[in-house]
């Protein structure tokens, strides 16, 4: 072996090696006072996880690092790291450096002995910046400070690079997706002050998680709960009809109340909810109701479209008790859960619009109409009116008529 240069005493290298660690507290917060732990080989743990101790069980040599940068430490570690990872020692240009290579080879036996016993330094006191978790143990608690070995990151980066290289090779191009790494700025502009392996810790892998696809979750919400349709506040009708509409409102307010309070005839019980009317009021009423009904039916149609998009993902609730075993089970209501309000079911799925639905829906809609007030669009002065609660039955019947007559709506 050629003589080693007297400028680089091997004792200094061996000193740095002896004080090197797998885990450095500065990787948690660079303002923590230096300190760290080095594992011994017999701390290997053969479990199906990724960590320093489990990698030892695979015979991996995990490179160690200095706890803080001082004087010649970084220079020493250039050689030490190369020796530990079986890389060649190169200078800044990437050319092999024979003198330092000799040094690396000379350290080989010290490195072999390095992992015979565990080692730690600077850990007598725990800095406030070090995180501590209280973990239950034996009826009480132990405080654990989680920490990762930069050397494991080093090998992880190796694997990530290998996969990226495989993707460039056409044969295996489709086998892998590109692993995503994150940019995690430990050490800031001078990571070497925290450790020579800190740069490896600056590229952890990044794992995605399923995100809530709004359309899908909206569809499921519709499936299980139906939806609350809205009724527009602003009504746009022909200007000419507006005075008639106002009269109509007064009419139902006054007349319906009278009818309701009429003790001689049980009008309401008989389902008669009429007051006097005339042609213009009738037209205004039709315009008003038609606009609302069209709007609500359109909302139902939109809901149906949302459900159609995820039809194959929806659970199918079948009538298993009455199953005819020769025929495949059919879903009772393919787009909706059977527990959804009947009025809403038919609103969304036209196939479910039978006479029973007509009654339910008309009642439902009438109830919603009387709950809010309205403004007529297009007037120089806004005209607003509420519709009295007693108009519910009357409106329900009118809506039923509307739906019957205008076949295309149903």
């Amino acid at each position: 072996m050629a003589a080693l240069s007297p400028d680089i005493p091997i004792e200094d290298y061996e000193q740095s090696l002896a004080e090197s660690v797998h885990f450095s507290v500065k990787t948690i917060n660079t303002n923590i006072d230096k300190g760290g732990i080095r594992l011994s080989q017999d701390q290997a743990l053969d479990l199906p996880f990724i960590s320093a101790r489990t990698l030892l069980a695979d015979g991996v040599r995990i490179p160690t690092d200095y706890t803080a940068n001082a004087g010649k430490t970084a220079t020493h570690f250039k050689v030490i790291k190369a020796a530990m990872t079986d890389d060649a020692v190169v200078d800044a240009k990437g050319n092999p450096d024979p003198e330092l290579q000799l040094m690396a080879d000379a350290l080989a036996s010290s490195i072999d002995q390095l992992f015979d016993v565990p080692y730690q330094s600077g850990l007598e006191h725990i800095n406030l910046r070090m995180r501590q978790l209280l973990i239950p143990k034996d009826g009480s608690y132990i405080s654990l400070s989680p920490i990762t070995a930069a050397g494991v990151n080093y090998w992880l980066n190796d694997e990530v690079d290998a996969i990226k290289a495989q993707r460039k090779n056409n044969e295996n191009a489709k086998r892998f997706r590109s692993p995503i790494t994150a940019v995690f700025g430990i050490g800031g502009a001078n990571p070497q002050n925290a450790g020579s392996l800190i740069r490896a810790m600056q590229r952890p892998i990044y794992l995605t998680a399923p995100t809530a696809n709004e359309e899908v979750s909206q569809a499921f919400r519709l499936f299980y709960r139906g939806f609350d349709y809205y009724i527009p506040h602003k009504i746009t009708i022909d200007k000419d009809l507006t005075p008639a509409l106002i009269k109509w409102v007064h009419l139902i307010k006054k007349d319906l109340k009278t009818t309701a309070q009429d003790s001689r005839q049980p009008w309401q019980e008989e389902g008669v909810f009429a007051g006097k009317t005339d042609l213009s009021r009738r037209n205004a009423e039709l315009a008003f109701l038609r606009q609302i009904v069209r709007n609500v039916l359109a909302q139902g149609k939109k809901a149906k479209q949302t459900l159609e998009q995820v039809k194959d993902k929806l659970p199918q609730i079948t009538d298993e008790d009455n199953a005819n075993l020769d025929k495949p089970l059919k879903a009772l209501t393919p787009l909706l859960h059977p527990s959804v309000d009947l009025a809403i079911q038919g609103l969304i799925d036209p196939n479910l619009r039978d006479d029973g639905w007509l009654q339910e829906f008309s009642k439902h809609l009438a109830r919603q109409i009387v709950r809010q007030d309205y403004q007529i669009e297009g007037q120089s002065e806004p005209v607003s009116f509420p519709i009295d609660d007693s108009a519910q039955g009357f409106l329900a019947r009118r809506i039923r008529e509307l739906l019957y007559t205008y076949g295309e709506l149903v």
Binding site: N31, S143, L207
Partner: protein, 310 residues
């Protein structure tokens, strides 16, 4: 009596996204397990297991050239003058963090004489989860079994232990565990089929922290140790140890898939089901296999703390 506490749709603001020095973005299962432990402790119960149901996660950061760049949301914690920047003495220096908004539901199996829903709700209102603030949650319920609990939540992704996949792949390819791990997390759907055969049902393979391995013997002589408090709020001597997170393979499985597994029609000729999907089939038949428990491993020298689903 054994009951299942269901906390649906917990929304957390700015939770920690960093799982360990190796991984950003693992599911916060350990956080959930210890959170549940604290919750039941504060409300007079004993925790016997959790199920974590993921709904959504919004990672705070961007992308640059295919790399995730977490937003640097705050400066370093101010302890004393060394936390200030060396370049600008009026500014705190930076210690990198990664955060996300979380949306998940939690099932907690408990043993309790009585369950105080209002105490649980009160605890949740002020609690933090994985370093983030709990913004809202749906009504807490105490139900009788896991099936009832899951049918309350209906949609979402449950987390399942997939150590079996890592072991299978490492053996089959004769890889060491790190290579097997990294490759498994990168396999495309075609790649998964190449390796495991048709219909492996392995979408959404992921990884997270499933335990801690101590790096040294428990130390009772250190100063500056965080003390645990007993039930009378008295501090008690607490041992300390440095530990490393154990990153394991897990899978997000849609609840819908588990509760309503795909049934072959009798007329169809079905191929033999893929053996790697066996754990999913087993879980559909027995949902109690979803519970995650924690324990200290005694056979490995007593210095490993593990979450497992057995």
């Amino acid at each position: 009596m054994s009951k299942v506490i269901v906390i649906p749709h917990i929304k957390v603001q700015a939770a920690n996204l960093q799982t360990s020095g190796l991984v950003l973005g693992g599911a916060p299962l350990m956080a959930a397990a210890m959170f549940a432990h604290n919750l039941v402790r504060q409300t007079g119960m004993a925790d016997k297991g959790i199920v974590f149901i993921h709904h959504d996660r919004q990672d705070l950061g961007g992308f640059a050239y295919g790399n995730f760049t977490p937003a640097q949301r705050r400066g370093s914690v101010f302890i004393n003058k060394i936390d200030y920047s060396s370049k600008n003495k009026h500014a705190l220096s930076l210690q990198p963090t990664a955060s996300c908004h979380l949306h998940f539901s939690l099932l907690i199996k408990v043993d309790a004489k009585r369950i105080f829903i209002n105490k649980i709700t009160e605890f949740l209102r002020n609690a933090r989860f994985a370093g983030g603030k709990i913004l809202e949650f749906d009504e807490v319920k105490a139900l009788n079994g896991i099936a009832q609990g899951l049918s309350k939540i209906k949609i979402g992704y449950v987390l399942i232990d997939r150590q079996d996949v890592l072991q299978h792949y490492a053996q089959a390819q004769n890889f060491k565990r790190l290579q097997a791990f990294t490759e498994l997390l990168s396999l495309s759907p075609e790649g998964l089929q190449q390796v495991f055969g048709a219909q492996p049902r392995l979408s959404w393979l992921s990884a997270t922290n499933l335990g801690y391995a101590l790096l040294e013997a428990e130390n009772v002589n250190r100063t500056g140790v965080r003390q645990a408090y007993d039930k009378n709020n008295q501090p008690r001597d607490t041992p300390h140890a440095y530990a490393e997170p154990l990153i394991g393979l897990v899978q997000y499985v849609s609840l819908n898939q588990l509760l309503h597994p795909p049934k072959p029609d009798d007329n169809e000729i079905t191929a033999d089901p893929n053996p790697i999907a066996e754990p999913l089939r087993k879980l559909s038949e027995d949902l109690t296999g979803l519970w995650w428990h924690y324990q200290w491993q005694s056979k490995l020298g007593g210095d490993v703390f593990l979450l497992s689903q057995e």
